[in-house]
């Protein structure tokens, strides 16, 4: 039984010329519970759009995205928001931490719109990523590596079934990138969450046993290239 099952998924955008351009065209894709998969793809290949579709941030033109038995593509925006809050953790390349909130508040907000905030669990998550002494610090007071760790804690705080990671090490140096990647994979395992990571970095991709090429998966790229 798949945690995530995608079929005939298409998404297009209108160009400045007024034409519709197909960005994502994925015939079949699936992810098992607890599976960790890396998608290889270059910048501009539609990887982020693909993740946004899975997360329900964007609505698909057609196709289905079944997540834990529910079709994200068929839901209204409000229901997609709720499903995302309850079942998905999202780690961004630029961390996307809220600058006006402390580390603890950032993590608590990661839980707020799903199951509800739990200060003790948020604290435990920050302790897990090695930031027990930084609960009341603000993102600007942290190093980039520490900021990404807060983002990891936030993404996993709501015990999501699926973690989406979009170039999560893109803004980190080698050492921090390695540590962050190990942390993401380890905390996902500990929480029983599946991980879908997209990257163009060979070092990151090399750490995964299971890697797929997004250029092969996304037929829109093949059509554009032919």
């Amino acid at each position: 039984m798949s945690l995530l099952a995608i079929s005939a998924l298409q998404k297009s955008f209108r160009t400045p010329d007024g034409e519709r351009k197909l960005i994502v065209d994925v015939a079949e894709f699936s992810l098992a519970p607890g599976q960790q998969l890396a998608l290889r793809g270059e910048s501009g290949s539609g990887k982020t759009t693909f993740l946004h579709l899975i997360a329900g941030i964007l609505a698909a033109d057609s196709g289905s995205i079944r997540l834990g038995g529910r079709d994200m593509a068929a839901l209204g925006e409000s229901a997609r928001d709720r499903l995302r809050a309850e079942t998905i953790g999202y780690i961004f390349q630029t961390f996307n931490l809220l600058q006006g909130y402390s580390c603890l508040e950032n993590v608590m907000l990661g839980m707020a719109f799903g199951g509800g905030s739990n200060r003790a669990h948020a604290t435990a998550m920050l302790e897990r990523v090695g930031l027990a002494q930084r609960l009341r610090h603000y993102p600007r007071q942290l190093s980039t590596g520490q900021q990404q760790r807060v983002a990891v804690a936030r993404a996993l705080a709501n015990r999501p079934a699926l973690v989406l990671a979009d170039e999560p090490t893109g803004n980190l140096d080698h050492r921090n990138a390695r540590e962050a990647l190990a942390l993401i994979r380890q905390t996902c395992r500990e929480n029983g969450a599946a991980l879908l990571l997209v990257s163009h970095d060979p070092e990151v991709l090399g750490a995964f046993e299971d890697v797929r090429d997004f250029a092969v998966l996304n037929r829109a790229l093949q059509e554009a290239g032919s």
């Binding site: 390349q93 600058q99 006006g100 707020a112 719109f113």
Partner: protein, 400 residues
């Protein structure tokens, strides 16, 4: 809880604009409440102040001028009336009590009013309240003695046992000093009536002050009257005002003062309109402050949406943030109100002796804050709509 956190953090992130906007709301709200309360309280107070009398009899002229002069000790006297006129009204069967007063002198700007001791012993200036002395005793009606109203004594720095020289005329001019020396025999306890700002002397003393026309030595400026019944007032009104042509009978005092407020009602309306406009501009300030910060907020909004916040949650947070600025502003507005009203009440007290009851509850203290908060929430609708329409994907750059 989450919504409160989002609102508080946003207010803190935009602290300067929050404080400035809240202060402008405080000023607007304070002004609105002050204008309203001063209007209502002054009207209520001045139409009720009659210092225990039903009517005033004086020389032919304006009833309002007569009341302002004899009751509030403002304005010039419209003229004198003869001793025979005073005796006639004093003995009239419809009149319960008639107290003569004479004006024409001052003590460094405070009016000197000549009267009889019965004003202090026989009259209740408000139901159940008679004038009382905080120190000393009443003046001897045939001596050069004086009793000072509490406010006048405080401002003049005079105490029982002190002496002074009166000055001629109602306006203080140091060249017009009378030679007579008066002894302060007592100071009245505060009554919060115009009597507090008066220097009271015996009627005879003022009438015969050196330099005053000896031919008018037995004249009085006005007669303060208590009637046996309201019907008697209408009868005397007919007798003096309709059938006679020498004197004016001002009755009822409250209605005459109400007329004054009707005449200056346009001024209240202008002030109220200004206060409303200031309130509207302040609410507009909330709109501008939040709207201008929307560009900086888009990324935060997109992040919150990515974390699962609904559009309506974001919309509500912005509207509530605007309302919270209004709430904070109105909390400070009560301080502004207290400051403005204290100053206005002090000015009115200095000018009239009447103390406005500024702290009495007035419905404006409820509807003005609620209205202001509502206006601010309305001002938050446009930026909230903009926040509502924020595209998540566009604002979660970069895209790979």
């Amino acid at each position: 809880m989450t919504l409160a956190l989002i609102i508080l953090r946003s207010l803190r992130q935009h602290l300067l604009s929050t404080v400035i906007t809240a202060l402008s709301i405080a000023l607007a709200g304070g002004l609105l409440m002050s204008v309203w309360v001063v209007k209502v309280q002054s009207q209520a107070t001045f139409t009720q102040v009659n210092t225990g009398f039903d009517a005033v009899l004086g020389a032919r002229g304006s009833k309002l001028q007569l009341v302002l002069n004899a009751i509030f000790h403002l304005e010039a006297s419209p003229g004198n009336l003869a001793a025979a006129d005073f005796e006639f009204i004093r003995r009239h069967p419809a009149v319960k009590l008639a107290i003569p007063i004479a004006v024409g002198d001052n003590l460094r700007g405070f009016r000197i009013v000549g009267t009889v001791p019965e004003l202090f012993t026989a009259v209740e200036y408000a139901p159940g309240k008679k004038f009382a002395l905080s120190s000393g005793s009443l003046f001897n009606p045939v001596a050069k003695e004086a009793v000072l109203g509490s406010f006048a004594a405080q401002r003049l720095g005079l105490h029982t046992g002190d002496t002074f020289h009166p000055f001629h005329g109602l306006i203080y001019d140091e060249r017009n000093q009378h030679a007579e020396t008066y002894l302060v025999t007592g100071v009245l306890a505060p009554s919060n009536t115009p009597a507090d700002k008066v220097v009271w002397v015996p009627l005879h003393g003022l009438q015969t002050m050196a330099g005053h026309d000896p031919r008018a030595a037995s004249d009085v400026s006005a007669v303060l009257i208590q009637l046996r019944s309201p019907a008697a007032g209408f009868m005397l009104d007919m007798m003096y005002n309709k059938q006679g042509n020498r004197l004016t009978f001002a009755f009822p005092i409250g209605a005459i003062m109400a007329e004054l407020f009707n005449k200056i009602g346009w001024f209240d309306q202008v002030l109220t309109l200004i206060a409303y406009l200031v309130a509207l501009v302040s609410a507009g300030g909330v709109l501008v402050a939040i709207y201008n910060s929307m560009a900086a907020r888009r990324r935060d909004i997109a992040i919150l949406r990515a974390l699962g916040a609904h559009r309506r949650t974001i919309f509500g947070a912005i509207v509530l943030e605007a309302a919270t600025i209004g709430l904070l502003g109105m909390l400070a507005g009560f301080a502004a109100y207290a400051g403005i009203l204290t100053a206005v009440a002090a000015i009115i007290r200095a000018q009239t002796g009447v103390l406005l009851n500024a702290w009495t509850y007035n419905p404006v203290m409820l509807w003005a804050p609620l209205g202001m908060i509502g206006l601010c929430a309305l001002g938050g609708l446009l930026p909230a709509w903009k926040a509502y329409r924020t595209d998540i994907a566009e604002n979660l750059a970069p895209v790979s």
